[in-house]
């Protein structure tokens, strides 16, 4: 297998992965910072490089609706969006999941209005965390490329049949050029295979009614089946990653643990900020501090077992949320990690920091200050800081 390297932005890498997957149908609607994904893909279509029917819709609501129509018809369907676009899709996201349609969507994370802001944070995908989609958050462009290629396999797995969002930080990843190791077209084609659903709308010989009304006598069971499918995805995601690793040499788990083996303190995060935190961890380690980092790659399904196994032995942990949940103690990641740690026989002191809203940079110094606070809490020389905002003016 002859691999190639290329310098690509996140958006270009996403479009390239999509070209290699070659979905049957793509819907497209522009929004910063993900616009370039579908622009690039449109060029592939224009050049005859892919056999994809492009549906150029008049809104993201229609983009997701068209994906539902296409996926239900038996096609592999993909799209990309961000922020307001994802918010506009909200209603249809639940329908895609409820109809068990394995749609794959690349989401370049961006802040939500108001105030209007086109820059990166994870408020958009956090707003749809209960829509029933699998949510995978990536750290860099390579992981974005690799994860998108794995996504159809996860979504279409007969034990799962759920839509997948691959989330990558707006601008930080969507517009940053990184070196990416690419796979051959044929290798990707073999890996993703062909989508052959058991029941589909175009099967006129065997007519089915899709999207019926379920009253209180059946609705609960349908919802429980979705929950069970999501639980099975806990097994299928690593299984697909393992197969990807075996074929292509790059392995991705449910979580990424960095220098956690003997750690006493750690920060937890989603997405590209892990890069900053790893730098801080290295600096702390040079000073002899037993620091580490945990990045959740899957947020839905929530990898509770790994989180407990890796964090319970620690003394102090800071959870970095790039989205707020006003009216609750901190962000959604904070809530969920605290919740799964509750039953652990021993658990760390936990702090929560909302950071990076609307594209605000997390500075190494700020992250270091949080680690230092954890260090003091671990040593028992200070209380763990209460949840708050990292770097916000008064």
């Amino acid at each position: 297998m002859s691999n190639r390297f290329a310098a690509l932005t996140g958006n270009q890498a996403a479009a390239l992965a999509m070209r290699q997957i070659e979905p049957d149908v793509c819907a497209a609607y522009p929004i910063t910072p993900s616009t370039q994904v579908m622009e690039t893909y449109s060029q592939y279509v224009a050049d005859g490089a892919v056999r994809t029917e492009l549906v150029l819709v008049e809104s993201e609501h229609s983009a997701m609706s068209a994906c539902v129509g296409a996926a239900c018809a038996g096609a592999r369907a993909m799209t990309a969006t961000s922020s307001q676009g994802l918010a506009l899709m909200h209603e249809v996201l639940y329908i895609a999941a409820g109809l068990r349609l394995p749609i794959v969507m690349a989401v370049a994370n961006r802040a939500l209005s108001a105030p209007l802001n086109i820059h990166g944070d994870q408020s958009d995908t956090m707003g749809s965390r209960d829509a029933g989609w699998i949510q995978l958050y990536v750290r860099d462009v390579q992981e974005l490329y690799d994860t998108l290629i794995q996504a159809p396999r996860i979504a279409e797995h007969c034990e799962v049949m759920l839509p997948v969002m691959v989330c990558f930080d707006g601008f930080t990843l969507s517009h940053a050029i990184e070196r990416v190791e690419l796979l051959e077209d044929g290798a990707v084609r073999d890996f993703v295979g062909v989508y052959r659903p058991e029941r589909y709308l175009l099967d006129v010989e065997h007519p089915h009614t899709f999207g019926p009304a379920l009253l209180p006598d059946y609705y609960t069971e349908a919802k429980r089946q979705q929950r069970e499918a999501m639980s099975r995805a806990l097994e299928i995601i690593p299984h697909v990653a393992l197969e990807f690793g075996a074929r292509f040499g790059r392995a991705w788990g449910m979580v990424e643990a960095y220098r956690l083996e003997d750690a006493e303190i750690a920060a937890v995060v989603l997405g590209s900020t892990a890069g900053t935190l790893m730098e801080v961890v290295d600096r702390m380690r040079e000073r002899g501090v037993r620091a580490g980092m945990l990045r959740l790659r899957a947020f839905r399904p929530f990898p509770a077992e790994e989180v407990v196994r890796l964090l319970a032995p620690l003394k102090a942990v800071a959870i970095f949320d790039r989205a707020d949940s006003p009216g609750t103690p901190s962000g959604p990641l904070y809530e969920e990690i605290r919740s799964v740690l509750y039953d652990a026989p021993a658990r760390p002191r936990i702090s929560g920091m909302v950071y990076g809203l609307g594209g605000r940079e997390m500075l190494v110094e700020e992250a270091s200050a949080t680690y230092e606070a954890l260090e003091r809490a671990a040593a028992g020389t200070a209380e763990i800081p209460p949840p708050g905002y990292l770097s916000a003016r008064g």
């Binding site: 819709v57 229609s62 994906c67 129509g69 018809a73 899709f210 009304a213």
Partner: protein
């Protein structure tokens, strides 16, 4: 003008009646609801296998309650406002999968069923997008002139003065203010190759199915606005559905016409136009208007002027108004 199959002799009603129903009985639509009659006629009229896409509304909640379904053709219901976009996706999938040899290589047809709420209002953007994109589908709007499924609220298809649950009649307000939206005209303005208005009647039983057959041959989007009488919302006896529909046509309240490749054709011209009072007085939703002479005259004037415009577009001569209204056997208004 594109070729259409019904240029040859239409199939006889008797023969049609022998065909199996593709929407079975036992569904939960009200007795007298026109929607099921319309769906059955549409499905019968197609010589192609049909894939149905449906918007939320009375039809959906009445025909798909799990674990039963009344549908014998494949059917997808997505949401209220996105049937057209859903059809765009399904139709794109059909072309893609057919080209790749993953489904049998044969002609299918995509038919959307949506109410006036799901078409004139909340689904308007999605419809407009699909028309502009050129999605090859037939979009059937059941126009019962209101949001019936949620309890008879006004829509932009609701006629002036109608009593609905969000335009109730009171001391200060006489039902729905403002005229209905001319959606058929708006669809024509999208340059769709086939646009028509029709309604299920006994006196022109072929009108609906002939239009469907022609629409299914259109090389692009086709749209048929079907007046769909609603016994609950319009307030008349269930047995009178077809008679009420007839009044809409005879008063020129709901003319039958089609626009093929931008050319307007009138399908029925009453010898004498019946007064609009006949239409109004047959339905409980207009009861409060009957003594409002000036308002009724205004409605009549607007109907007349719209009818004249239509005649002009279709290149037809004007029709005389009936001097003495013929006796009306049909439809007594009910509450």
């Amino acid at each position: 003008m594109f070729q259409h199959k019904t240029a040859t002799a239409p199939v006889s009603l008797k023969k049609l009646a022998e065909q199996p129903d593709l929407l079975t009985g036992g569904h939960r639509l009200c007795a007298g609801c026109a929607e099921s009659a319309i769906v059955r006629q549409v499905l019968m009229a197609s010589t192609y296998p049909v894939v149905a896409i449906m918007a939320t509304g009375c039809l959906e909640v009445a025909t798909t309650v799990y674990p039963a379904t009344a549908w014998r053709v494949p059917m997808l219901h997505n949401a209220f406002e996105n049937a057209a976009a859903t059809a765009s996706g399904a139709e794109a999938a059909y072309r893609a999968l057919r080209a790749k040899g993953r489904i049998p290589d044969r002609e299918l047809r995509f038919v959307v069923f949506a109410g006036d709420g799901g078409t004139y209002d909340i689904g308007f953007q999605s419809l407009s997008g699909a028309l502009e994109r050129g999605t090859r589908f037939l979009y059937i709007c059941f126009n019962n002139e209101g949001y019936m499924n949620t309890g008879i609220q006004r829509s932009s298809a609701t006629p002036l003065g109608a009593d609905t649950s969000t335009t109730p009649v009171g001391e200060a307000v006489l039902g729905k203010p403002g005229w209905r939206k001319d959606l058929t005209g708006i669809v024509v303005a999208h340059n769709a190759p086939y646009v028509a208005q029709t309604a299920p009647t006994a006196f022109r039983p072929h009108d609906l199915k002939n239009k469907v057959a022609r629409a299914l041959e259109a090389p692009g989007p086709a749209f048929i606005n079907v007046l769909s009488a609603c016994t609950r919302g319009w307030r008349y006896e269930p047995a009178d559905t077809i008679a009420i529909t007839q009044l809409a046509i005879d008063t020129c309240y709901w003319p039958l016409f089609e626009v093929i490749d931008g050319k307007w054709h009138l399908n029925y011209k009453p010898k004498q136009k019946r007064p609009i009072m006949d239409w109004l007085s047959a339905q409980g939703r207009f009861r409060h208007l009957l003594k409002q002479g000036r308002l009724v005259a205004e409605i009549q004037a607007r109907i007349d002027s719209e009818w004249d415009t239509l005649l002009e577009r279709c290149g037809e001569a004007p029709v005389a108004a009936a001097s003495v209204p013929p006796p009306r056997k049909a439809a007594g208004a009910s509450d």
